[in-house]
Amino acid sequence: MLFLVSVTPALAEEVSLHGFAQGNYAGRITGEELPGPEGGDFLLGEERFQIKLSGASEGSRFFLKSDFFRDAVFRKTETDLREAYLDYGGGFFDLRLGRQIITWGVGDLLFINDIFPKDYAAFFSGRPLEYLKIGSDAAKVDLFSNVVSAELVVIPFFQSDTLPAPERFFLFDPFPGLPRTAEEPRAEFENTELALRLYRSLFGFDTAVYAYKGFFRTSGMRPDSPLAPSRVNLFFPRLAVYGASGQGNALGGVTGLEAAYYDSLDDRSGRDPSIPNSMAKYLAGYQRQLLSDLTAGIQYYGEYLLDHGSYRETLPAGFPAQDRLRQLLTLRLTQFFRYQTLRLSLFAFYSPTDEDYYFIPEVRYSFTDALWGAVGANVFGGSKKTAPFGQLDKNDNVYVTTRYEF
């Protein structure tokens, strides 16, 4: 960070400053209130100010994006350094050093080869989409050629996903009330994560293959004693991912396919119930313009758990079991009105195997070029209170966002 600041003035020929001021509020509409000081009806109540500072000179560039916010639910004022990086490059390679957001794959809100950190708590509580992604402190090298291009990401500092926490969300908890200690992979050479993407255009399709070696970003849970647990240890098992994707025009719309094999390195036999088994994940998506300013997108997603037999054998009694095949369907509808100043949208997840769903309807209006507002809802439900979306049933919320950009 200091390095960034000190090198900046010398580099920059032209500096630009942008940002926004934003109000973002979300309230539970189920009438349920969590106990504790942070509980109550509100999931989110914050004012946020963001600055984006960038500058460029021959062959290099810096970018800084930082948020300052006041969170009324947690009663704290904080800074969140969203991104801060330096770019070098030109010719056959580019280099990006620092905190950066990386997005891979062709899924729409479904991530298979995008193994970079995400903030699901932000997403479920009605923050704008960009807050679903968390920056990685990484070095990224891009190599370009006519045959194939490569993107190699080296991440020395592990960053976990942010999941809904029991202080703010009603959740299924297999170990209710027990204290937890989290053990993140330390910044050591052998824990350095590596992610590689090779890509090129093939028959008009954007195709890519991916490889990753690192860790699951969602922790495993291991109680100190299986029979009378007094403490739960959260840890991040090792993971390798190998996958591919393709996206292009077909059938009068845009068609995408993506798949990956998740190799659970610390539990290849599938006999450790606290570590996810190896899995095959895949999706097929199709989006098309139905009418002027009306677009629809559908996706089918599957997650096939390997060694399901061993998993069922070793899963302690009373724990909810994951299906051998988890399936999800998604639908996205987007309609613009009034010269694209008014946008109605719906994103829906439905899982026939978990029997749960998650709907996000939203209305967004641009009052002027600088000011927009959105009202939307996060609606969860399902027949199983242990399923991914079903467990969030009591957290249905309505959110309001207004943003002034400059």
Binding site: H18, F20, A56, R61, D87, G89, D94, Q100, I101, I102, T103, V106, L129, E130, L132, K133, D142, F144, S149, Y199, G204, D206, Q247, G248, N249, G252, G253, V254, G256, Q287, R288, Q289, S292, D293, T295, F336, Y339, Q340, T341, S366, T368, D369, A370, W372, R403, E405, F406
Partner: protein, 266 residues
């Protein structure tokens, strides 16, 4: 290419000489439209322009779109477009790329900087508004010539300039049912266009408000599309137009979508 066209001319001559239904006039009209598209959408080997769009509602509320457009012509009518948005603030830094093919769906990509995402966009939206303006994607990059049947109605004058008045009717249902274009006989630029809807009522009017020669190529520097029904209009001003600047093919790639080249987008 020339031989084929010559051959067709002879073929048509033979047809009309034989007293068969005369297709010659329609072909002339299509030829005028072809020349007009070449002058309007394909001038030069490539183009770099800073473009300011002003969208005005009936009550006078204004919105601005500030962008840089890079365009490069390819073989056989193919084109590549690269658009960088300077403003408004909520889309600043967004890039948009199109590979345009004659007679098949375009490839379109959009880069959203906030989540560093490159995404394909469904392309069959020739009727859709370009960034909320009165211009459709087709109005920005051209419509397939064979999608319409063209007829030369008459020769006319607009502001003292000799023009062809060409009528184009879509062969398949489209946004408009009929379009009339007043095309300059010298420059082949459209000076005015009127669009009728399916009920036969006029709903959209295009005007070329200012034409300048840039590097000897007549260029529409200011144009307006007005929606007669809603009272909404979009005025587009081209600033700093340059032809044949030597844009490399590699610019139209994922690399530069994600990291727009400073040199080109200013």
């Amino acid at each position: 290419m020339k031989t084929i066209r010559d051959f067709r001319a002879i073929f048509l001559l033979v047809l009309s000489a034989a007293g068969l239904p005369d297709g010659a006039q329609a072909t002339d009209a299509a030829d005028i439209v072809r020349k007009s598209q070449a002058a309007f959408f394909e001038a030069g080997k490539d183009l770099q322009a800073r473009i300011k769009m002003t969208l005005t509602t009936r009550d006078g509320q204004r919105r601005l779109r500030d962008l840089t457009m890079l365009r490069k012509n390819g073989p056989a009518g193919e084109q590549k477009y690269f658009i960088y948005f300077h403003g408004p603030a909520d889309v600043a830094g967004t890039t948009f790329m199109v590979y345009k093919y004659p007679n098949r769906d375009d490839d379109r990509w959009l880069f959203i900087p906030a989540i560093n995402l490159v995404n394909r966009i469904a392309a069959r939206d020739s009727r859709s508004s370009f960034v909320g303006s009165d211009f459709t994607y087709e109005d920005v990059s051209g419509r397939d010539i064979v999608a319409d049947t063209h007829t030369l109605l008459k020769e006319d004058q607009v502001d003292g300039r000799k023009v062809y008045l060409v009528e184009s009717k879509p062969n398949r249902p489209a946004e408009y049912a009929r379009k009339r274009a007043w095309i300059d006989q010298t420059t082949f630029l459209p000076l005015k266009e009127e669009y009728d809807d399916i009920q036969g009522a006029l709903y959209k009017v295009f005007t070329a408000d200012e034409i300048k020669e840039i590097q000897d190529l007549p260029t529409v520097m200011k144009r307006t599309m007005a929606d007669v029904k809603t009272g909404h209009k979009t005025e587009v001003v081209f600033e700093r137009v340059q032809y044949n600047v030597g844009i490399g093919d590699d610019l139209f790639s994922e690399r530069y979508l994600r990291r727009p080249p400073e040199k080109w987008i200013k």
